[in-house]
């Protein structure tokens, strides 16, 4: 794909004129209002999550409930701190476990899945369609019933009660492979061909041509996988308390009844805030890729 209009300036001008051509002002205003209304509906429950964390106990049980706390306080946070101090293993240990499990699972999955996706999208090797179809079908199987067989396999491999029991299966989730393959399909073959003519090997092409071109895709995948891994308590395979992730410890607090309602409100906020923070970090780099237009040669 060669840009139709050589230099950047003309390109920008054309883009501007395009916006003027096809976008009506009334349409923009309507869209804006529509998005505002939908956004409110989406945001209200989350506003509750945030404000509940700052409500003192008496306001948590108030009738009628209010959207915003009247006397915002940090009591709940203090309460949570006390709980943390009394936990079975130091809380920093839970955090370390989460970093290992979530970090490892996300990084490994993005690399493994994108490596496998490139040949599936662009090489015509024997068995390609079969492999791909199996992955798509696997997405439609209910994971709840595979837990017992999974446990047996992990025990047989002797990795039960280690980080590997949670991380290794995560490397090979079906979602990432499917997602990456769909994006790589859109890369023009001409780019790959010309790299081959320049003498680049397949591994080189994957790393320095394909991956930069599908940056929005793998950042998106990183966000999705981070979320999955963060939500993983690992309680099925991790017996030792010192291996369990933060999510597990936090959910213990949420489920500990009305007396802990305040701390639970803060925990709900933390559980929601961490993936959101990660998303914001990735989102800004996704937008950076926006400024470069499409595929360039």
């Amino acid at each position: 794909m060669i840009r139709a209009y050589g230099d950047k300036k003309t390109h920008k001008k054309i883009l501007k004129s395009r916006v003027a051509l096809n976008r009506s002002m009334a349409g923009n205003v309507t869209l804006f209002i529509f998005m505002g209304i939908c956004g409110m509906f989406m945001a209200i429950p989350l506003v509750f999550v945030v404000s509940n964390a700052f409500k003192p106990l008496d306001e948590l049980f108030r009738y009628p409930p209010r959207l915003f706390p009247r006397h915002p306080s940090l009591d709940n946070f203090a309460d949570l701190k006390v709980l943390m101090a009394n936990s079975w293993v130091p809380f920093s240990r839970y955090i370390l476990n989460t970093v290992i499990i979530t970090g490892g699972g996300t990084l490994g999955h993005v690399i493994f899945a994108s490596m496998a996706a490139y040949p599936l999208a662009k090489h015509d090797f024997p068995g390609r369609n079969l492999l791909f179809n199996i992955v798509v079908l696997s997405l439609m199987f209910t994971w709840q019933v595979t837990q017992v067989p999974n446990y047996l396999i992990i025990s047989k491999l002797g990795i039960n009660n280690t980080y590997w029991a949670v991380i290794l299966p995560a490397f090979s989730y079906g979602l990432g492979l499917y997602l990456m393959k769909q994006f790589m399909e859109q890369i023009p073959d001409s780019i790959i061909e010309s790299a081959r003519l320049d003498g680049a090997g397949e591994y080189r092409i994957y790393w320095s041509i394909i991956m930069p071109n599908v940056k929005p895709a793998w950042l998106t995948l990183a966000v999705l996988q981070f979320q999955t891994m963060w939500g993983n308590t690992g309680s099925q395979f991790l017996r030792d308390e010192q291996l369990k992730p933060l999510q597990y410890a936090l959910l213990q607090i949420v489920n500990s009844g009305p007396a802990r309602q305040g701390a639970a409100a803060v925990v709900t906020l933390i559980i929601a805030a961490i993936p959101i923070t990660f998303f914001i970090i990735c989102q800004s780099s996704i937008i950076e890729t926006m400024t470069t237009s499409g595929m360039k040669e």
């Binding site: 395009r18 096809n22 509750f48 492999l131 696997s138 490397f171 859109q186 998106t220 996704i286 937008i287």
Partner: protein, 322 residues
């Protein structure tokens, strides 16, 4: 290295035409496999793990569906017994299938359209504002089980937020126990499910819109595309067909596999099974009654349902932009 089908020429000359064809076919297959060594090296790490941790367990649990297995004793083979029981004398399964289909038919298409529409609108915004809007819409699905906040909203006593608002506005004269009243359960579950559904598909569409080559739009503008709707139909959608197909699979699996929200908001079992879905039914047998063989049979039925509907939907999406 060439992509495309390589025709390996067989050096052997044979009198028998069919045999020659077979030999040359084998010969070219081996050649092609050799040629694509790099491809196999790249896919190997992922697929070794994938077969170990995904395919193998799935095959095992498919096999378990023909057995009686209580997780403690070794499975006993009973042939089609589980399936016969499932279809002939499991009334709740019928309710579950009905609810699941309602869910799939309502939330599937609506959530898919929502993902696409919102992603497309967000694409019209720029910079910081755009990031903010994306976050607002994506936040519900990313925030773990923040949907338990709906429990506060739908609580059946005066502390419930919805009851509070409606009482205040005099729309109801006494508080309603929303999630314990049969006629409301499914409706609220659908609302919460829609609220949660701007997830994987939505994010993929947003990324997909960004990988579209901008020169296509310029060309389209010159070719006389007049407004954003035409642009959407003739340029945008056809160029993101791979993402549209992916999003469809995601929304289908999501809407068929609804379970967690039902269990958390309506309970399992829910009142008169009003919130029962195939997966809640499966969990009831799998993780409460420990009838793993039966649960596996339910999972296989769901699998077949999903694959079937997926085939239909993929065919529809291939027609986009024509």
């Amino acid at each position: 290295m060439k992509t495309g089908i390589s025709t390996g020429k067989s050096a052997k000359v044979s009198l028998n035409g069919a045999a020659e064809a077979r030999v040359s076919a084998e010969w070219s297959l081996i050649n092609r496999i050799k040629k694509h060594k790099a491809s196999y090296v790249l896919v190997a790490p992922y697929f070794i793990l994938f077969f170990t941790f995904t395919v193998l367990p799935v095959i095992m649990s498919m096999a378990l569906s023909f057995t009686n297995f209580n997780v403690l004793e070794p499975p006993k083979f009973i042939g089609w017994g589980n399936y016969i029981r499932l279809f002939l004398n499991d009334d709740i399964f019928r309710i579950a299938i009905k609810n699941t289909l309602i869910f799939a038919v309502v939330t599937g298409p609506i959530s898919y359209m929502m993902c696409l529409l919102f992603a497309w609108i967000i694409n019209e915004f720029k910079g910081k504002l755009r990031a903010f809007i994306t976050l607002i819409f994506y936040a519900p699905s990313i925030s773990g089980n923040a949907y338990v906040v709906w429990n506060l909203i739908l609580r059946g006593d005066k502390y419930g937020i919805l009851n509070g608002i409606l009482l205040r506005l005099d729309l109801i004269d006494q508080e309603k126990i929303w999630m314990k009243t049969e006629k409301y359960v499914l409706m609220f579950l659908i609302i919460v499910q829609l609220w949660l559904s701007l997830g994987t598909g939505f994010l993929t569409f947003i990324a997909g819109l960004q990988t579209i080559d901008r020169t296509l739009y310029e060309a389209a503008a010159i070719d006389g595309i007049k407004n954003r709707w035409q642009e959407l139909w003739y340029v945008t959608l056809p160029s993101m067909r791979p993402q549209l197909l992916f999003g469809a699979v995601m929304q289908i699996t999501q809407s068929f596999a609804v379970a967690d929200i039902s269990i958390n908001l309506a309970g399992n079992p829910s009142v008169n099974y009003a919130g029962a879905t195939i997966v809640t039914h499966l969990m009831d047998y799998g993780s409460i009654r420990y009838e793993m063989g039966y649960a596996s049979a339910i999972a296989n039925v769901l699998f077949i349902l999903m694959v079937g509907s997926n085939k239909v939907v993929q065919r529809m999406i291939r027609k986009v932009g024509t």
